[in-house]
Symmetry: C2
Subunit: 355 residues, 2 copies
C-alpha cells in the first residue's frame, strides 16, 4: 500500500516529486521556474502577493482532464490556461493572475511534463497573464489516466483558477436578455471536440481537424474598445452551443430561434461529426464565444469581430423572440431542410474527457 518512491527515475515522475521535500524543490527550481517563474511566483511562498487590485474582481476555476494529453492544435497545458482566461473574459474581466494546480500520476515522462509547462508558458504569454501560485501532487499509477503509449505512462490532471479585474459600472448579465436581442458566434463550431476525438479514435482526419483552443481576452477587449457592450457572453465548451442556447432561453424566459444554415461549420467538421455520430451543436468548443447584443449592436459587432484573427468567420446565428404563451422557454432551430426542431441541452456527456 505504502509507496515510498524516494528514489528518482531520471525519465519519469515518481511519488517523491510530490512529497514537499528536496526532490520536489529541486524539480520546481530546475523545471517549473525557468519556464513560468516571475517575481510573484518565484519566492515559492504559501501564496501570491498581488498588491491592491484596481476595479471589480472576478474569480473563476476549471479543472482539465482531457485525454489524450496532446491533440492537434493544443495540449492540456494550453487548454488549462485558455479555459480559465476565457471564463474571465466571458465575465468581461481582464485576466490578472492564474494559479496552477497539477495532479501528476507517477510514471508520467518528465519530458512530456516539460512540454506541457512550455505550452502553459506560451499560452499565458499569449494571453498576457502570469502563473503566480501553484501546487503539485503526485498520485500512484493505477492504470493510466489517459490514452497512453505504454501501460507505465502516467497521466496529468490540471486545475487553474484565475483572477481578473473589470472596470466598475458594466457587466454582462443574462437577466437583461430580451426579445429582439441578436445571438452571434465568432467562428466555426465543434472543431475542438472533434479534433480530440479524431486522435482518440484514430480516425485519420487529424491532419485537417485542429483544436481552435485560444485565449479570447484580446478578442473581447477589441469588442469592448469598439464601444459595444454585450448583454451576455459564454464560451460553449462542455454542453456545446446547444447548452448555451438553452441557457439564453431560460435566462430570458423567451424563445431562442436559430437558423441551421447560418451556423458556421467546416465541411471537414460536418463530415467528422456525421461519421462519429455526434450533433455538432452539443460538441465542446474552445476559442469560441457566443455573444448576445441588442439588435442595433449586431452589425458593428460582426464588423469588429471579423477584423480580429479569432473572429474571421463570425456570424449572426439567431435571436431571442417573444415566446408563445402556451410554450415554455425553448430553443427552436429552423433547419436547412426547411423544417423546425427543438434544440435541447444534452443530458450527459457525448464526448467525455474532452477538456
Amino acid at each position: 500500500m505504502l509507496t515510498q518512491g524516494t528514489t528518482a527515475d531520471d525519465d519519469r515522475v515518481v511519488m517523491a516529486h510530490g512529497g514537499g521535500g528536496t526532490l520536489m524543490r529541486d524539480w520546481i527550481r530546475s523545471h517549473v521556474l525557468p519556464r513560468l517563474g516571475n517575481s510573484v511566483l518565484s519566492p515559492l511562498t504559501d501564496g501570491a502577493d498581488l498588491g491592491v487590485l484596481d476595479g471589480e474582481v472576478v474569480f473563476t476555476t476549471d479543472s482539465f482532464v482531457v485525454s489524450p494529453l496532446k491533440f492537434p492544435g493544443g495540449d492540456i497545458g494550453r487548454l488549462a490556461v485558455c479555459g480559465t482566461v476565457n471564463d474571465l473574459a466571458m465575465m468581461g474581466a481582464r485576466p490578472t493572475a492564474l494559479s496552477l494546480g497539477m495532479i501528476v500520476e507517477e510514471g508520467l515522462h518528465l519530458e512530456l511534463l516539460d512540454e506541457v509547462l512550455d505550452s502553459i508558458a506560451a499560452a499565458a504569454a499569449e494571453a498576457g497573464v502570469q502563473v503566480v501560485t501553484g501546487d503539485t501532487k503526485v498520485i500512484e499509477h493505477r492504470g493510466s489516466l489517459h490514452q497512453a503509449a505504454e501501460p507505465a505512462d502516467g497521466g496529468l490532471l490540471i486545475n487553474t483558477a484565475g483572477i481578473g479585474t473589470r472596470q466598475s459600472g458594466w457587466a454582462p448579465a443574462a437577466e437583461t436578455l430580451a426579445p429582439g436581442d441578436v445571438i452571434v458566434i465568432n467562428g466555426n463550431l465543434a472543431e475542438h471536440g472533434l479534433a480530440v476525438m479524431s486522435v482518440r479514435e484514430g480516425l485519420g482526419f487529424d491532419s485537417t481537424l485542429r483544436s481552435d483552443v485560444a485565449p479570447l481576452n484580446s478578442f473581447v477587449s477589441a469588442v469592448l474598445e469598439a464601444g459595444i457592450r454585450p448583454k451576455f457572453m459564454r464560451d460553449p465548451t462542455r454542453g456545446g452551443l446547444a447548452g448555451v442556447l438553452v441557457d439564453i432561453a431560460e435566462a430570458s424566459g423567451e424563445t431562442v430561434e436559430v437558423e441551421e444554415a447560418a451556423l458556421p461549420i467546416s465541411t471537414t467538421a460536418r463530415h467528422a461529426a456525421e461519421l462519429l455520430g455526434f450533433d455538432p451543436l452539443t460538441v465542446a468548443n474552445e476559442g469560441k464565444c457566443v455573444v448576445v447584443v441588442a439588435a442595433n449592436d449586431a452589425a458593428p459587432l460582426i464588423e469588429c469581430m471579423r477584423a480580429h484573427p479569432l473572429g474571421r468567420r463570425a456570424a449572426v446565428i439567431g435571436r431571442v423572440i417573444h415566446r408563445r404563451q402556451t410554450h415554455p422557454p425553448v430553443v427552436e432551430m429552423a433547419t436547412s431542410a426547411g423544417g423546425r426542431r427543438i434544440v435541447q441541452r444534452p443530458y450527459g456527456e457525448e464526448l467525455p474527457r474532452i477538456c
Copy 2:
C-alpha cells in the same frame, strides 16, 4: 474506449455527472447549491463577481489527494477548505473567497460526495469564507484512486484556490529573519499524518489519534489583534516541521537551533511514529503553524496563542542563531539524550497521499 455514461445510477457518480448537460445541472442544483449556495455562487455563471476588494490581494491554490477520503478528525473536504484558508492566513491575509474544483472518479457513492460537500460547507462556515465558484469533472474508473471499501468505489480529488485580503503596510517576509528570532509552534506535532496513516494501515490506534485539521485564520487574527507582527509564518504540511525549519535556515542564511525536549508531541503520536518508523519532524501536520517573531515578541505571542483553542499547547521550540563561518545554514537539534543532530528536509515523501 468511449464511455457514454448517459444513464444515471441512483447511487453512484456516472460520467454524465461531469458532462455539462442536464444531469450535471440537476445534480448541482439539488446537491451542491443547497449545501454551498450563496448569492455569488448560485447564479452559476462562468466566474464569481467579488466587487471591489479592499486591501492587498493574496491568491493561493492547493490540490488534495488524501487517501482514504475520510479519516479520524476530518475528510478531504475539511482538508481542502482548511489547506487553502491556512495558506492565506500564513501570508497574513483574511480569506475572502474560495473556488472548488472537484475531479470525481465514476463509481463514487453520491452519498459520500454529499458528506464531503457537507464537510466543505461546515469548514467554510467555521473559517467565515464562502465557496464562490466551482467546477466538476468526472473521469473513468480505472482501479480506485483511494483505499476503497469495494473495487467499484470511485475516488475524489479536490483543488481549492483562495483569495484573501490584507491591510496594506505589513506582510510576513522570510528575508527579514535574523539571529535572535524565536520560533514558536501552536501545538502538537504529527497528529494529522499519523491519524491518516493509522486508518490506512489499520493499526488500531485510530480511537485516540485524530487529525487536527482546522482553519487557522481566527488564530492568526488573534495574534495580529494582540499587536504582534510575526516575521514569518508557515503551516508545516508536506515536508513536516523539518521542511519549514530548513526553509527558515535558508531564508535567514543562519543556523536554526531547536530543542527536541521542547517539541510538543503526544505520547500516542510518539509511539505511533516509532511503530510506523517515521520521524515526527517530517510527518505532515494540519491546523498547525510555525511562527517566527523577534525575541521580545515571544512571551506575548505564547500568551496570546495559549488563550486560543488552537494554541493551548503553544511552545517555543527554537531560535535563529549566528551560523559559524565554516558552516552552511543548517538546522541543529539538541536531542533529549544530550547530543546534537542535523535536521534535514526529507528527500521525498515518507507518507504519500496525506493531504
